[in-house]
């Protein structure tokens, strides 16, 4: 990708205060760039920090969380000033489709009214112009505009998910964050939604971050993927590179754990489970589950280093240092 990134994340950390006075270091220093029209997948097991990381970009973490790091939106830092600097961009420049969004509509309010809410809040459209804009948005996601006067229960699951995407697009954002947007949907409806997301990035130049635990889904939809583990990016690169030549053992094992419809190879499980992050891990957090560890992995945490243009990995293997 050439040109300036629309959003850059630099060394982002998130901690949560725990009831017992301790801290949970959920996101442990992640960095990546995203260009207009680009589709980046964030993939990893439950609890790896992928949702926490993008909620931080939206400034939507609970009060028990503290954040450090820089987030540059078209070159300007938006994180340092907290809510004051983030809120002008929320929904306007950076919008999100939440996990289970299709089930989060208010059941007693018409769909169109709910989509118009963000516009009215930001003053981008009101009244009649809001209605027109809602119709336009619904058409954009493949729903007839006059259906804005329907109630959520009159929509199927796939249509509600389309409406949730329309809602996120209400203020014409530059970046769309989608958290497991197809998890509860059937595979055919999933394909329809993914096709929609791809066409939005292509036609509107929208940049997309897609969160999922489903690696093949990212392989099919995204240009690049960041594999997250224990709050870090284990590896980032193009989906082709990650598939053909995974540099982190976790990336390789994650592919091997995923059955492929045409595959003949043995599907393996990854023994053990991710570390708890209420204590800082010593050495490499993946060490207990790794099949390619070195001596220093026990004691020294690997650094996130660039191994090729656009390709970075957090692993001692191949690191001369």
């Amino acid at each position: 990708m050439s040109g300036a990134p629309v959003i850059s994340v630099e060394d982002l950390h998130v901690w949560f205060d725990l009831a017992d006075g301790g801290e949970l270091h959920a996101v442990r220093g992640i960095s990546f760039d995203l260009h207009p029209g680009e589709r980046l997948g964030l993939v990893g097991e439950s609890g790896c920090g992928k949702t926490t990381a993008i909620l931080a970009l939206m400034g939507l973490l609970p009060a028990s969380a503290s954040v450090r790091g820089r987030v540059l939106l078209e070159g300007s830092e938006i994180m340092a000033g907290g809510e004051d600097t983030i809120s002008p961009h929320r929904w306007k420049d950076v919008a999100m489709v939440f996990q289970g969004a299709m089930n989060a509509f208010n059941p007693v309010q018409r769909v169109g009214k709910q989509i118009a809410e963000a516009m009215e809040l930001h003053g981008t459209a009101t009244g009649r112009s809001a209605r027109l804009r809602v119709a336009e948005l619904l058409e954009l996601v493949g729903i007839a505009g006059e259906r804005q006067d329907r109630f959520p229960h009159e929509f199927s699951g796939g249509m509600r998910q389309r409406a949730a995407i329309a809602m996120a697009l209400a203020c014409d954002p530059k970046v769309l964050l989608a958290d497991e947007p197809t998890t509860a949907l059937d595979v055919m409806v999933q394909a329809q939604i993914l096709e929609l997301l791809v066409s939005l990035t292509r036609d509107l130049g929208l940049a997309l971050i897609l969160i999922t635990h489903d690696l093949p889904l990212i392989a099919q939809v995204c240009d690049r993927a960041a594999v997250m583990y224990a709050g870090e990016i284990a590896e980032i690169g193009t989906v082709h590179d990650l598939y053909a030549d995974p540099r982190h053992p976790y990336t390789r094992l994650l592919f091997a754990a995923t059955p492929d419809i045409y595959g003949d190879d043995l599907v393996v499980s990854i023994p053990g489970s991710p570390p708890r992050l209420d204590h800082e891990p010593v050495g490499c957090p993946f060490r207990p589950r790794c099949d390619a560890f070195l001596e220093r992995c026990d004691t020294v945490a690997p650094r996130f280093r660039t191994v090729a243009p656009g390709r970075s990995v957090t692993c001692h293997n191949g690191d001369p240092a």
Binding site: E45, M188, L215, I261, G263, V267, I270
Partner: protein
Amino acid sequence: MSGTPLLEVSDLVVHYPAGKGKVVHAVEGVSFSVNAGELVALVGESGCGKTTTAQSVMRMVHSTAGTIRVDGRDITNLSAGELRPLRREMQIIFQDPYESLDPRFKVRDTVAEPLEIHGVPREERDARVHDALVRAGLTPPKLYLDRFPHELSGGQRQRVAIAAALALEPKLLLADEPVSMLDVSIRAGILGLLDEQRRAGLGILMITHDLSTAAHYADRICVMYLGRIVEEGPAKEVVRNPQHPYTRALVSVVPKRDPRLTTQPQILKGETPNPVAVPSGCRFHPRCPVAQAQCRTDDPPLSTARDAREAGHRSACLFT
């Protein structure tokens, strides 16, 4: 495989009343069999009737017509009391191991409960519980016996549910989406465990929406659409040489691991119709990309697919 199948379902029909005199056609004439040592996957989208079929086999729902034979014996019209001894032979595990285990029961009690219900003498139970935990990969068992579900991971919970199902040494196991709630990294462990039991002679009917999992672990796949099996055959043959237009579309939209495979997904418009109003003729015709006039009137039966490369590959389409 010769002889009597372990499970034989013939022309199963399940209708539910939908109010106002309407009827939900949940299952409409489904036939298949499962042999000992065989894993058969029923695959399809929500509402295709796969779970209703499984529940009907377990006699958890009443069937409207058709027969269900276990080991050659017709169980379709047995009373609850007559069914009870047969329940030892067929067990079920569910999708959500967080909900299927009683949170107040220790692992020991969960696995011993079916033994108690079926009158296994008390002195035998400990050994049977021990064996079942070993078979389910929870070793050494003493590490797990006194734990409560909340002290176990999702994968361990599903193993406890499997141990409880295996404790009675059933011949047939129904697995309803056994891994869809679990993290990818541990799914292979659970599926491998089921595969081991299959090799040891257990017959398994797996309900899943995931064609990739079915392709890997099943011997045969039955693809269901709107209450019917529209295609069936050897698992790899069905996914690599799909014949029915619905299966072709389904296989084409399953995300593939290899990003270089850029075959155009064939995305069907709309969603599966409501099983209250099943389309006339071939029930797939309104969404079918190759439907002809005849498809609106003729309801095709399952028959040997024209381009089948393996025996037992059948499709319910007038043109394939």
